[in-house]
Subunit: 465 residues, 2 copies
């Protein structure tokens, strides 16, 4: 008699990972199937569930007064909904053949097997920590988890208003630069790329660069960190690059993350070129019947390029969880893919992008025209109309929109949504010129900046024949 | 020898109306054809060209410090581009048979005929002024033209901080209520409809109603104005309704506008059921070869309902002008239609809509489900996350998005653009649930409010079978 038979008609869902994707899946499955039909066991290595990692920079910077505000749903709330949540419990092995996982109590070290009928892998991502001298020194912090955030805040309490170095100038890097400026630090950002925000083309990244310097942030681009100088007390003293040294009381690593797929790899599950799990449209792991995966540990289809990407972002993780939960719970839902939308800010500068950059388009063999326009977020005569720059890429011949990048101030960033929807719909830039967007002087110039860019792009595509 | 032969190869374009549509058409045509090829004569009844009528409430309210900021291009600038602009000159007759227009100098009364090869009608709209006793009293103002705005400001200088009554609670009405509040007036809005903002469903209008009351504005709904009480000095004293009298030092009329098509009607040009000129996709008047029309004097195709509408809005007028100018100038452009997007604000309340209201959908025979969700403009834990309400309509069976209405605070209004693009693309609410919209805590909850509404609408459509 198998384990499954022993439990009779009641199935068991095991979820690995208690953050956005995993717990959304568990919650949605529970909504569709009660505890009589479906037992749900969720393993989480850390102390917390369902929290907003994206909110950590704002907690560190002081905009969010306390940690618990970042927690969407506590362990107790999950348990109250009949989810058997096991905190501080790390899954150490997947046995797909026998349908079970081995889990270890992090504190006691005790291990045991738990069988499943359905499995959700939501192991997230781990921050890239280059194996350089001094990386483990006190005062060097990632900002991936709530524990990371608390540790960083402890360091800030100790080094109040000193010198901070942020390594990396992607979303996390620029958001942490803002947080540290808000905390009164003298901030230097050391960045490997030519310009900050490598998710933008360099010409748009340059605008971010200049704006950050205008905020008093020291930007050091095109520089590789070679190590950290550590004091006798074991605390970090400086970030060392090939040709300079940047004194630091605190160092924040914002270098990026990789899919956390060691378990999946060991179990022989299919991984893509970015190291993420590969799923089908229902978020089921390819080739598997009863195993789903979502969140930062999976790769997603980029609908514009037609290729797989790894985009660790809370909003995707939540969608994945919702889709998985619906399918596990006997419903039907799919995640068709992404267009690569992202928005961020550093102080009052808003930065947004969707679709392909120039180099992405080239890499997938698309020939394009690119235009850049300057406009304002509101009618030029309205108070606080602020300048914004919109870059737009369109395929030659078809005129299909390929991507949009925006750098501006208040009201600029979320305009990227217009392009995100147009990309999803496969619109041409010519079609976009006729879009009926909301207009009133406090909200937009009479030609919305996105329309101005579309008109210019459409003209350029026409001229290019 | 005809007039046209006499001028040889050089054609003459005559434009009637010197605001957004007319002068955009003239400018775009000039861009494509130099003065050797195309002569351009533009007649404008008033003193100004190419100004933002939409900006008048903000000038009156003091946000825009001076009138000239609202003028996008002055008469001199147009003339410098070889456009023969004749101000204070009213066209009094169209002679389509002989291809000429009769114009009268408003000041001298002198009349003369001008022949054309191509004609653009951009006569705009005229405000509705009910024929009630006292409507012509001093202190009663429309806000359609810059001259209207100046006259109102003169009255405000005289009545500083007194009592103001706004008649009508559409966009102009609520914007003028804000302007008058900003000027220190005690403001009453008298409105015929059940709730303010009849471009929204009444349940959403009610939110606007409550918010306006919270701003100290007195809202009187469901009330018909029967006349004005006028003092012996010829100045307005009160607005009189069927069962009350509202003391007023100044009265602002925001009742709406009708297409100004008397000339076109007299000439036998085709008008629609809303009194606007009917055009084809190139903005050419139906049945005509060389006559175009655009702006507030035309009707436009509503892409969602498939019916004609009259939507006086600067952003459409500018698009029309651009399209007309391209076609007149030998290029090619079309205006496919609108989805009915509009955004407005009253103090810090943002109000937006696109697509069909419940009654619009019913009128065109569409069966739908409607959902309303409460969410926030930013992540709930982020400072200044403000509540916003999104109502969404979707067709049963197909699940096609039919319309969205939004009432909220900062960051709420322009989210309507997401729906505007989705409507244009003919998306279903199920497709919308997967939209890859910009997410970061300062910009949006992890599920954008529009996605929350789409999820709820999709579920309701499914449940309805």
């Amino acid at each position: 008699m198998s384990m499954s038979d022993a439990r009779g008609a009641r199935e068991r869902l095991v979820v690995i990972g208690g953050d956005a994707a995993g717990m959304s899946a568990a919650s949605q499955a529970r909504r569709l199937k009660g505890p009589d039909e479906l037992e749900i066991v969720a393993f989480e290595r850390g102390h917390f569930t369902s929290y907003s990692a994206c909110g950590i920079p704002y907690w560190v910077g002081g905009d969010v007064p306390e940690r618990d505000r970042l927690i969407a749903r506590t362990p107790e709330e999950h348990r109250a909904r009949d989810i058997d949540l096991r905190l501080r419990t790390e899954v150490t092995e997947l046995d797909l053949g026998r349908g079970r996982v081995r889990a270890r109590d992090v504190d006691s070290g005790a291990e045991s097997w738990t069988s499943y009928d359905k499995l959700v892998i939501a192991t997230g991502a781990r921050p890239i920590r280059p194996g350089l001298p001094g990386m483990d020194a006190a005062g060097v912090h990632g900002v991936q988890t709530l524990d990371d955030g608390q540790a960083l805040l402890d360091t800030l309490a100790r080094t109040r208003g000193g010198r901070a170095v942020v390594v990396g100038a992607g979303y996390i890097g620029v958001e942490m630069a803002e947080a540290l400026i808000n905390r009164g630090y003298e901030v230097t950002v050391v960045n490997r790329g030519e310009e900050p925000m490598s998710t933008l083309d360099p010409d748009m990244g340059r605008l971010v660069h200049r704006a950050m310097e205008g905020m008093g942030i020291t930007m050091v681009n095109g520089t590789e960190v070679t190590g950290l100088r550590v004091g006798d007390d074991g605390r970090v003293r400086a970030v060392v690059t090939e040709d300079a040294e940047f004194p630091a009381d605190v160092v924040v690593l914002g270098i990026g993350v990789r899919p956390e797929t060691a378990l999946a790899r060991a179990a022989g599950l299919p991984l893509g070129e970015h190291g993420g799990l590969l799923t089908d449209r229902s978020m089921r792991v390819r080739g598997q019947q009863d195993v789903w995966a979502g969140g930062d540990c999976v790769e997603v289809l980029d609908l514009v390029s037609g290729q797989q990407r790894h985009i660790p972002l809370g909003t995707h993780a939540n969608k994945h969880g919702q889709v998985i939960g619906a399918n596990v719970g006997g419903g039907y839902a799919t995640f068709p893919g992404v267009v690569g939308t992202a928005v961020s800010k550093v102080c009052d500068l808003e930065i947004a992008r969707t679709g392909l950059r120039e180099k992405d388009a080239r890499r997938v063999g698309l020939r394009f025209e690119a235009v850049t326009v300057e406009s304002t977020s509101r009618a030029g005569y309205y108070p606080n109309a602020s300048p914004m720059t919109v870059k737009m890429l369109a395929e030659v011949r078809t005129g299909r929109l390929l991507g949009v990048q925006i750098v501006g101030r208040e009201g600029a960033g979320k305009r990227v949504d217009i392009a995100a929807v147009a990309l999803t719909a496969g619109m041409t830039v010519e079609q976009m010129t006729a879009l009926d967007l909301g207009y009133a002087p406090p909200f937009s110039p009479v030609w919305d900046p996105v329309l101005v860019a579309a008109r210019k792009a459409a003209a350029k595509v026409r001229d290019a024949g």
